[in-house]
Assembly symmetry: C2
Homo-oligomer: 218 residues x 2
């Protein structure tokens, strides 16, 4: 009885996600869905990316959290339009929640919309929202066994950002193992090793993002 | 349509959890449900706890993961009976999955059963399995804003283990903020600051566990 219900929810979500995507495409808006475990550094990445790119790319942010608006406040302080979704218990964002923000976020003038999902390595990967790309972040403090334990998110993502490389000297984590196992699950994965604390490795990420925004403009 | 279905699932789960609990109580078995975000250090805590306590407390472990049996192999190497549950996509364990392990895990002679949940700060807190206590772990690398962002798990837990304190010099994380916000959500919370890497602070946790096992014996 449980499985058909879940399938219905996923199918209904797919329909809404496709409608969202059509709207994003009409507006030539690049949309990325940023996912990770809690505390991997998604909001820090956004703060860095806004500082680096806001003069050349007009962007908006949707923040997803169970509760609180701390993340939207953090990115709004950087001077970009931000909307907070409180899921009120739900462990992921879905297409409908994104559609509900359209009244609060005028994306007519935007080139890039970043949706920061709820911190969770599991469920967010199952729910499309109409995004162009899923981007996932893993921090080295979480350990190098995560690709084989949470394969779906690695399989669905276009980019893997390995964050907190400044902490590598203090943790037992093999970058080679993360990269090897991630690529075994998803050979197409683009991987950047970064530190949102020191800024190391972020130029490659900015270039990738710039390129996708330009491609979507055409 | 969605909410009633979820309620049915939760109600059905509660019934099974109560049945599990009766069986645990009949056997004077202390059962704890260990939860955290991915990579916070649950399995490392188990390895440490087994080494410290296995000569005085007979224990068994149930490992919950989406996929893979790496965690069960890690704890089995320590010489305790271990069963791996692969949820096959589900982001949490539930009462039924635990009931299904009873054929593989003879807990007649056991005093302590530790259930390591799927790494996820959200959904596991909603599903009882018949355990005596929920125990949660937060690592300092996840940041000090987690209590207000994921309040349910903090509210439902009896103990909060703050792990990876050996990394405090290298991260921006206020222990005071974590403890203050956690206690605002749950004034009854017992908190231990620990490092599963260095062993710091673990004696308090072992004493707590020993005491609960003794109480359950009576």
């Amino acid at each position: 009885m449980k499985i058909p219900v879940v399938r219905d929810i996923l199918e209904a979500n797919e329909r809404i996600a496709r409608q969202n995507r059509e709207l994003f495409d009409e507006n030539r808006l690049l949309v990325i869905n940023l996912m990770s475990a809690p505390g991997a550094g998604k909001t820090s990445l956004l703060e860095r990316s806004i500082d680096a790119l806001k003069d050349e790319i007009s962007m908006g942010i949707i923040e997803g959290d169970i509760q609180s608006s701390q993340d939207a406040e953090r990115v709004a302080r950087k001077g970009v339009p931000a909307v907070q979704i409180n899921t009120g218990g739900e462990c992921h964002l879905d297409g409908n929640m994104i559609r509900d923000t359209f009244k609060d976020l005028d994306f007519k003038g935007l080139q890039l919309l970043v949706i920061e999902n709820v911190g969770n390595l599991v469920c967010p990967a199952e729910f499309n929202m109409g995004e162009d790309y899923k981007i996932m972040m893993l921090s080295v403090t979480e350990g190098d066994d995560k690709p084989s334990k949470y394969p779906l998110m690695f399989r669905k993502s276009r980019v893997l950002l390995i964050n907190k490389i400044d902490l590598l000297p203090y943790v037992d984590c093999s970058m080679e193992r993360i990269e090897k196992e991630s690529r075994r699950i998803n050979p197409e994965l683009t991987i950047f090793r970064i530190s949102c604390k020191t800024g190391e490795g972020l130029k490659g990420w900015y270039s990738w993002l710039r390129e996708q925004v330009n491609n979507k403009k055409k």
